[in-house]
Structure formats: C-alpha cells, structure tokens
Amino acid sequence: MTPTLAACAAPAAALFCAFWLLPMVELASLPAGKGWQTYVAVLTEPRYLRSLIQTTALAAGVTLVSLALAAAVGLHLGRQRFPGRRLLLALLTLPLSFPGVIVGFLVILVGGRQGSFADLSEALGGGRITFAYGLTGLFLAYVYFSLPRAIASFTAVVERMEPDLEEAARSLGATGARIARDVWWPTLQPTALAAGAILFATAMGAFGTAFTLASRFEVLPITIYNEFTNYANFALAASLSLALGLLTWAVLLVAQRFGGGTVGAAA
C-alpha cells in the first residue's frame, strides 16, 4: 500500500478501530474475569443452551420457508412482464428498510388482543384467537422481514436468466417439473445459498421484533438483553454475544466460501 492509499484508508480505519475493534476486544476479554468456563456458558447452562437451540431452529425454519416462497415470487416477477410490475416489486421489498419493531407491531395489529384476526374469529363464533405473542407470531414476523431480501435477490437473478434456455427446453417437450429442475434450479441455487446465509444471520441476530412482541418464545438476543439490563450480568451477556456473533459470522463465511458471494453486501 502506497502512503497515499494508506492515508485514504486511515480515517475509516481509525473509526473502525476506535468504535468496533477495540470495544470488541474488550467485550471478548470480559468473560475471562469470571473464569474460563464463562466462555462456554451457552453450551453448559441448560437455560442458555435451550435459548440457542430455539433461536437456531427458528432462524433455520424461517430461512427455508422464506427462500421457498421468495423463489416462487422471484420466478413470477422475473419472468413475467405486466404493468405495475416495478411498483409491485418496490412494494414487496419496502419492508427491507423497516426496523424490526415495526414488523413486531404489524403482527400485533393483526394477531394481537385487539387484532383483526381476533375480530374475525369472534365474528365466526370461534372466540378471540390471538397468535402474536407465541411462536406463531414470532415465526410470521421473521418471515415478514426475511421475504423482501430474498425476493429482491431472486427477482434480480431471474431477470438475467437466458429466456432461450427455457424456450429450448419447452420446445423439446420438457414438462414444467423438468424445467423447474433443469433450468430454474441451477440459476437459483447460488442465490439461494447466498441469500439463505444472510437471512439466517439476520434472523439469528434480530432483536427489535422479538422485543416488541414480548414473545413467550425466548430467542438468544432477548436472553442477552435480559442478562445485561435486568441482571447486570455483563460477563455472561458478553459471552453469549460472542457465541451469537461467532455463529452468524461462521455461517456467512461458509456460505461465502461455497458460493463465492460477498458477506453482508446485501444485509
């Protein structure tokens, strides 16, 4: 690196070191003060392990469902041309810019105590049914904020797909299922891997949504938040954050190595 280039990178490097790297080093060294076993508390304490497993299962389920739905939407929007297509795409990707708290609120508005779903079920004679505050609400909320990201990625890749390939397959008599397997899947697969990793990492670290829903289903970010604010257990909160950070980073890294994409570029 020449001195000029180094000078160009210096301000960003200084900001990064002062406000991320050094604080992170401090965070990473904090659990050591309470003994080395604090680092593995997430695996040895049943409460935290349960939270970790619940969070991972939720994130994995949300990722798979969102990828499947978004692939269908991407195939439709990428292959069809109709008036208002761009507007629809813009509307479907609008929630990308929402803080998680808004998504939680939308679920409360539909599935909460005063929600329209409760009104509907009451009118149908089923009593006031709520689903916002349990696993169902959390799952739907996570799918809600995961879909736009995956839809944007899939639509972009389908738009660049060669139409001739599908045309050729069709004229050779390939069925819809054959086309899906031999033409669509190879196009979508790398995107599914890259987008899937980002969806998973985002779902693992999501805090605002679960916070707003005050969910009975505890996810790891909420556990960390409680340890920090309610119990002032800083070393443990640091240890759990490290575990969560390492896990999400590792997933993104593995996806990058296999897919050749860029970590976090679309996060």
Binding site: L5, A12, F16, L27, P99, I102, I108, G205, F207, V263
Partner: protein
C-alpha cells in the same frame, strides 16, 4: 449486460417478452403480496381512524398524527440529524477508503476489507454491548447523540466502502486516472476532479443506503440510547409498548413518510446507473 453482448444498435436491456405463466407461481406471488401489504394497509388506516376498535365507522382523524408529533417530534429530528451525519462520515471516510481498497492489492488491504464488514455480520446487540463496555464511563460521550452515531457509523460504513469500491474498480476508470496522471494532475486533483465525478452515481447510491440504514437502525440503538437521545425507531418501540394502537399506527405512518422519498430516490438512482452503464456500452 445484455446490451453489451448484443452489441450496438440493439436497445440495451429491452424487456424480454413474458414467458408462460405458471398458476402456482402466480398464486404464491399473490399470497405473499397480501401477506406483506395487508398488515401495512391496516396500520396506515389504523393511524388515521378515530377509533380502531370501532373500525372505519367512527370516522377518520389526524388527531393521532398530531399527538405523535407532540410526543415524539424530537425523535424524527434526531434520526434525520444522525442519518445525515452518518452520510457525511461515509462521504469523508468511506469514499477514500473504498478507493484505497480498490487500488491496493496487498494482503493487509484484503484483511482490512474483511474486518470492515464484521459489524454487519455480527448482531448489532453485540456491537452495542462492546461500545457500552468501552465507553460507558465517558459520561459526556455516553449521554450525547455522538455515542449512537459511533454505532451507526461502524454499521453503515462498509456499505459505502463496498458500493464505491466496486465502482472505482471499473477498467475504464483505471484508464481515465492514468490519463489524468500523465497529463500531470496531482493526486488531489485526480481524485476530486476526475474520479469522484466518474463514480458519482455510486456515491449517491451509497449515501441513500447509509441514510436508510441509519434511519431504521434499532438493534444497536436501543442499547445505546438515553432518555434524551431517542431516535425514531426507539420512539416507535416506546409507543408500541405504552401507547394506544392508533398512536403506534400513526407513528408508523410518520416513519413511512420519512423513508418513502429516500427509497424512491434509491430506485431512481439505480435506474440512472443502469441506463448510464448501458449507454456507455452502446457508445463503444
């Protein structure tokens, strides 16, 4: 891309004709559309309804918007200020950094590029805890909006660096820079007079992205804020927890009104870049 392959004479990126529709895909798209947009429409109307429990029959009102403005007006101003400050830092620190990383082939530069994206990969809560542990005792800093700004900057900077870095790597730009150099332009003149204008659309795109990310950031901000430094999303969380549904909805409407023009501009800039690249290819 397609324009480049087909060569001059063909209109770049002409929309290909629709291909046979699959009813299943159409059905899923419609369902996802309802799933995404119906709650949003419900929220927008709830914010304008006189009484949510009684439905539209009770009439429409802007009363809740007024209350939001009285209770939370300050959060909008703070969020806008923070987002603009983030953009300023991204311009001053992120653009030169993107250039340095685009031109340097050293191992250190690659490693630094990877490190720089870590705040995006690692959950915001972890970054926030680290900042509090490191600077929590610095009262003046901890209590000021600058503390939140620090968190937002490390989170948004990688997006600017990556966006402009990709633009600086273009081959034609390397040639342009070389030409300016042989004509005797110094570094400052080359950078400000030649390079920055050439990648202007990407810089604008990066600015809009940084702005949007900062305005909507909650995971970090909730931990970093104090009662005197509440941002828009922090205020939203507060209103959802303690106010009636109508106020929460009206406040959500305020957020949408703030974010919509920026998103619209983002789309417009993306088209601008696409068209510019297409005409560049066609011109050759």
């Amino acid at each position: 891309m397609r324009g480049a392959i087909l060569g001059a004479g063909t209109r770049p990126r002409t929309a290909p004709a629709s291909r046979p529709a699959a009813p299943l895909l159409l059905g899923i798209t419609a369902a996802v559309g309802v799933f995404t947009l119906a709650p949003l429409a419900l929220s927008v109307t709830a914010g304008l309804m006189a009484n949510y429990a009684q439905g539209l029959g009770a009439g429409l009102t802007t009363r809740w918007l007024g209350e939001v403005w009285a209770l939370y007006g300050g959060t909008v101003a703070l969020s806008l200020g923070l987002a603009l400050a983030c953009v300023a830092v991204a311009l001053l620190a992120g653009v030169p950094c993107g250039y340095a990383l685009a031109r340097s082939r050293s191992r250190v530069a690659r490693a630094f590029e990877e490190l720089l994206t870590l705040p995006v990969a690692v959950p915001g809560l972890a970054t926030a805890l680290a900042l509090i542990l490191a600077y929590g005792e610095w009262g003046g800093f901890r209590q000021s909006p600058a503390f939140i700004l620090a968190g937002h900057v490390v989170f948004t900077l990688p997006f600017m660096v990556r966006t402009v870095g990709a633009a600086f790597r273009r081959d034609d730009l390397m040639a342009l820079e070389e030409a300016a150099r042989t004509l005797g332009a110094g570094f400052a003149r080359r950078f400000v007079g030649v390079l920055v204008p050439a990648v202007a659309p990407s810089i604008v795109a990066g600015c809009l992205m940084v702005f949007t990310l900062s305005i909507g950031e909650f995971n970090l901000t909730w931990m970093l804020h104090t009662p005197l430094t509440r941002t828009l999303p922090v205020g939203l969380a507060d209103s959802y927890a303690s106010m009636r549904l109508e106020i929460g909805s009206a406040y959500t409407l305020v957020f949408l009104a703030v974010i919509a023009p920026v998103l619209w501009a983002m789309q417009a800039v993306a088209h601008w870049i696409e068209r510019r690249d297409a005409t560049d290819h066609a011109a050759r």
